[in-house]
């Protein structure tokens, strides 16, 4: 019930912030209407980081505690992170064409490392399908998830470390936390969209985690069924012998 309420709140928040971003906030003096794309773009990028961070942390906890609930959390983070990172890339492309004149540029470190991050976690999800054994799958996936997470800080700081098309951080830079480069109405809308998307993220994470737990229970039931069938087969062969 609480999760359902969270879902309704998230839906209302995302709808309200979309209306504000599209209809209330004025067009930017230099970027025009294209700056409206920034709100879901930045929120999606941050939630991609957060999701993959959860996957890496859950992977570490699985390797330490050997509790499959952490693996369920890890796969939830990876799947939802892939979705939000894909949204961030799409939003960035739609913004880049009118502002930079190109949808994409491979020489840009932020764009290329983000594409790599997406590829790494799509690979993580595919890699999980290589084995049916839940414990072996969790261990292998945890290692891939932790190694792939090395790309998260590289993506984030790429705009500071190397020169490219992508601008440096608007807010999340140590010297800009209380002195953002953009006007406050834009920053406030950005934070509002970030909050709304984070609510949606929390709701989706809970539902995806529930699905992962149900899948694990199903696998366990199938395994027990096979064991019982095998035991039954042995007993029958002993009776007929």
């Amino acid at each position: 019930m609480k999760t359902r309420i969270l879902g309704f709140v998230a839906l209302a928040a995302v709808a309200a912030m979309t209306v504000i971003a599209l209809l209330v906030v004025p067009a930017d003096l230099n970027q025009g209407d294209a700056q409206r794309i920034m709100y879901p773009h930045v929120a999606s990028a941050w939630l991609g980081y957060l999701s993959f961070g959860v996957t890496a942390l859950a992977g570490i906890l699985w390797l330490w505690k050997r509790d499959l609930r952490f693996d369920a959390l890890a796969v939830s983070g990876a799947e939802i992170g892939v979705m939000f990172t894909a949204f961030a890339i799409w939003g960035g492309m739609m913004w880049g064409r009118p502002i930079w004149g190109v949808f994409w540029q491979w020489e840009d470190p932020r764009l290329t490392t983000t594409a790599l991050l997406l590829a790494l976690y799509v690979g993580y999800l595919l890699f999980r399908r290589l084995t049916d054994d839940p414990e072996r799958r969790a261990t292998r996936a945890a290692i891939v998830g932790i190694v792939a997470a090395v790309d998260i800080p590289i993506v984030h700081f790429s705009v500071e470390w190397w020169r490219g098309l992508h601008q440096t951080a608007t807010i999340a830079s140590p010297d800009r936390v209380l002195n953002p480069a953009a006007p406050m109405i834009f920053v406030g809308t950005l934070l509002g969209m970030l909050g709304a998307f984070t609510l949606a993220w929390a709701y989706l994470m809970i539902r995806r985690y529930q699905l992962a737990r149900a899948d694990l229970a199903r696998e366990e039931a199938v395994r027990i069924g096979r064991l019982e069938a095998a035991r039954h087969g042995v007993l029958r062969s002993e009776v007929t012998r």
Partner: protein
Amino acid sequence: MSDAGFVVAAYAVIMGGLGLYTVTLWRRLAAARRGLDRDDEAR
């Protein structure tokens, strides 16, 4: 395409994708729970 076209394309895919993923997740979860119930009945 005008700036507004890019804005519409961005929001349509992101919000539409978010909605589509949510609905798909509900269906996957419902199917998984039905499967578990069937396993319980079979045992």
